[in-house]
């Protein structure tokens, strides 16, 4: 019997019996631990004997433990399975029987290598399915959103407010930190140049315009795309993994209304507010840096902002924030709902959600920059 911790290695010896046949006596533990990596060595040694099958008797009665690994090593020997001269212990009979009767496993399908045309066509199919699903998602959101507007009692306020807290309030710290740092860096870099030109007070214009029109919205959106985009996608994915999505559907509750819409509304509300917050902190950082490098007084700076930056630019930044929010949430939910119930897909699609979200934000920003090039710039 196999004793824990004390393993007798698998082995064999041979002798001649009275009829002149070779008797191969298997000894030790023919188990996973008894064989312990020697399967090939044992098999090649035994193969010699297995070849002249008629004159060999296999004696397995001294085997002190036989499991599937041991049985497999023996039954892979050509001739062993056909040999009738096998003697085994009664408790091993069932296992031997099973291996003698087993059907060879099916051939594994080889993957057909990389074919460029197939890659292209699957790429095309992937793009098409993305486009189709994304359009469907937008359609569902519009239809369900419209229905909710007619039945305001069904609006999931709780989910929306929870989502705003998660995506907005909890992002205050990181947006403030990044905003302040970028404001300081911008201010330092521009102050060097402006001092050379002898126009230090223009720092207000440079900082105000670039932060309110471009940097504030972009920074906040990229941070939120990374934070909330991944969280939203992963949440939907885990709900697929644990069949929570199915449970919701089985209760007749729309996943668009309960899961997707609150995220969209939350980001559409929270991101513009975050933009204002990031603008303020970044300007503050820039202001402090300008005070140190150029000696501009802080009250002076604050008073100069309204005249230096047109209101349109500030408003444009906020509008961009709202649009970015909707785009980020839509993309996160799109990838989140594509997640298949396995962990690898969860990782892949969450990454896709973040990467696509950030790229889309920058793309939309470029569209805004071109579309509004005649507006707001002094």
């Amino acid at each position: 019997m196999a004793t824990a911790g004390h393993v007798e290695p698998a082995g064999y010896h041979t002798r001649r019996d009275e009829r002149g046949r070779t008797v191969v006596v298997l000894t030790g533990q023919w188990t996973l631990r008894g064989i312990d990596g020697n399967a090939d060595a044992l098999a090649s040694a035994l193969r010699e004997h297995a070849r002249d099958n008629d004159k060999v008797v296999w004696d397995c009665r001294e085997v002190r433990g036989l499991d599937n690994v041991g049985a497999l090593v023996l039954w892979r020997l050509q001739g062993f399975a056909q040999g009738h001269a096998i003697e085994v212990r009664p408790e091993h009979a069932a296992l031997c029987e099973r291996w003698a009767r087993r059907e060879p496993p099916p051939e594994g399908g080889r993957s057909p290598g990389v074919r460029p045309l197939a890659v292209l066509s699957s790429l095309g199919q992937g793009l098409r399915s993305h486009a189709l699903e994304f359009t469907t998602l937008i359609g569902c959101v519009v239809v369900d959103g419209g229905r909710l507007l007619r039945r305001p009692d069904q609006i999931p306020w709780k989910d929306i407010s929870a989502s705003i807290y998660e995506a907005g309030v909890r992002a205050l710290g990181i947006t403030a930190l990044v905003g302040a740092l970028v404001g300081i860096v911008m201010s330092y870099l521009s102050s060097l140049e402006l001092r050379n030109f002898g126009a230090p007070s223009y720092i207000v214009n440079v900082l105000g315009l670039s932060i309110m029109r471009e940097l504030g919205p972009l920074l906040a959106a990229i941070l939120v795309a990374g934070r909330s985009g991944s969280a939203m996608a992963a949440e939907l994915g885990v709900m697929r993994l644990t069949e929570e999505l199915d449970a919701l559907s089985a209760m007749g509750i729309s996943r668009i209304v309960r899961l997707v819409l609150p995220n969209i509304v939350a980001l559409a509300v929270a991101l513009p507010l975050l933009v204002v917050w990031t603008d303020a902190i970044a300007l503050f950082g820039g202001m402090v840096a300008a005070h140190i490098t150029l000696g501009i007084d802080i009250p002076e700076f604050v008073h100069a902002i309204p005249s230096a930056v047109p209101v349109v630019d500030f408003v444009l930044g906020i509008v961009k924030g709202a649009v970015f929010g909707v785009v980020i949430a839509l993309i996160a939910c799109h990838f989140g709902l594509r997640i298949k119930p396995n962990t690898r897909s969860l990782g892949v699609e969450t990454t896709n959600a973040v990467v696509t979200g950030i790229s889309a934000v920058i793309f939309v920003d470029a569209v805004f920059a071109i579309g509004f090039r005649g507006i707001g710039l002094p």
Partner: protein, 257 residues
């Protein structure tokens, strides 16, 4: 003799916050024993088994696995001990990104002392042993039925020919025929390999046919411990309800008479 006990638990207490799950549990499992761990839903059976493998630490008390105290064990020793154990989790716990084949092959590949050429044959044999055909091998866990998940998980638990098996409700979710086959299969394996097993179950047929002894967990303690046939003599109300109830009578009544 203590050295012949594979698992020893001494005065184990478990608390989750204010929820006391185990109170002074002392339990040992001898080599070759198939212990049925029985108890109501939420009585702490899964938790007890997790403590036996060292996945959870009890709040107080000592656990020994293969004679090694789990509270002060080196990570490396624990890993080799766990190589000798097979665990079937209640929910299957298959790796969702792997196919069934890869799931069963995984412990074999990680063990490293098995020639890769043998692994294919072993995996298909394991699958056949638990009643899964070769066509299932390419499926992902999400594409399996509940019973198939259970069988695939069992095949994985059996992959390394464990000396000690932990089975958390192995027959729940199987049809009666499959459950019967499963019991026969484990009985055969037990005869061949003389492994030790701890089986959590609510299945009275399985307790009667497979388990060599039972431990009954109720009121946070082990209230009964002994051969399945002795259980009806135990005065504890839970044991009475379980073994002298209508279903208990049907399964165990024939044995007693």
């Amino acid at each position: 003799m203590t050295s012949d006990n594979i698992i020893e638990m001494e005065h184990v207490f478990t608390r989750f916050g204010r929820n006391v799950v185990h109170e002074d549990i002392t339990l040992s499992v001898a080599r070759g024993e198939i212990l049925g761990l029985v108890g109501g839903s939420g009585s702490g059976k899964t938790t007890l088994v997790r403590e036996m493998i060292g996945l959870d630490q009890p709040s107080a008390g000592r656990v020994r696995l293969f004679g090694e105290p789990l509270d002060k064990i080196e990570a490396e020793t624990l890993a080799t001990l766990r190589n000798r154990c097979g665990v079937l989790f209640q929910g299957g716990a298959l790796f969702s990104a792997f196919t069934v084949f890869e799931n069963v092959a995984f412990p074999l590949q990680e063990y490293r002392a098995i020639e890769p050429t043998l692994i294919r044959d072993l995996v298909y044999m394991k699958l056949a042993q638990v009643g899964l055909g070769p066509e299932v091998a390419a499926y992902l866990p999400a594409e399996l039925s509940g019973g198939m998940v259970k069988r695939a998980a069992l095949a994985r638990a059996l992959a390394l020919e464990p000396e000690l098996l932990f089975l958390d409700e192995p027959t729940s979710g199987l049809d009666p025929v499959a459950a019967q086959t499963f019991v026969h299969h484990l009985q055969d394996l037990h005869k061949e390999l003389q492994f030790t097993a701890v089986v959590i179950t609510h299945d009275l047929d399985l307790m009667r046919d497979l388990c060599t002894s039972l431990a009954i967990l109720a009121d946070r303690r082990i209230v009964a411990r002994g051969a399945p046939t002795e259980m009806a003599l135990n005065p504890h109300p839970f044991v009475q309800a379980m073994f002298l109830g209508e279903r208990g009578q049907r399964v165990f009544g024939a044995m007693a008479s």
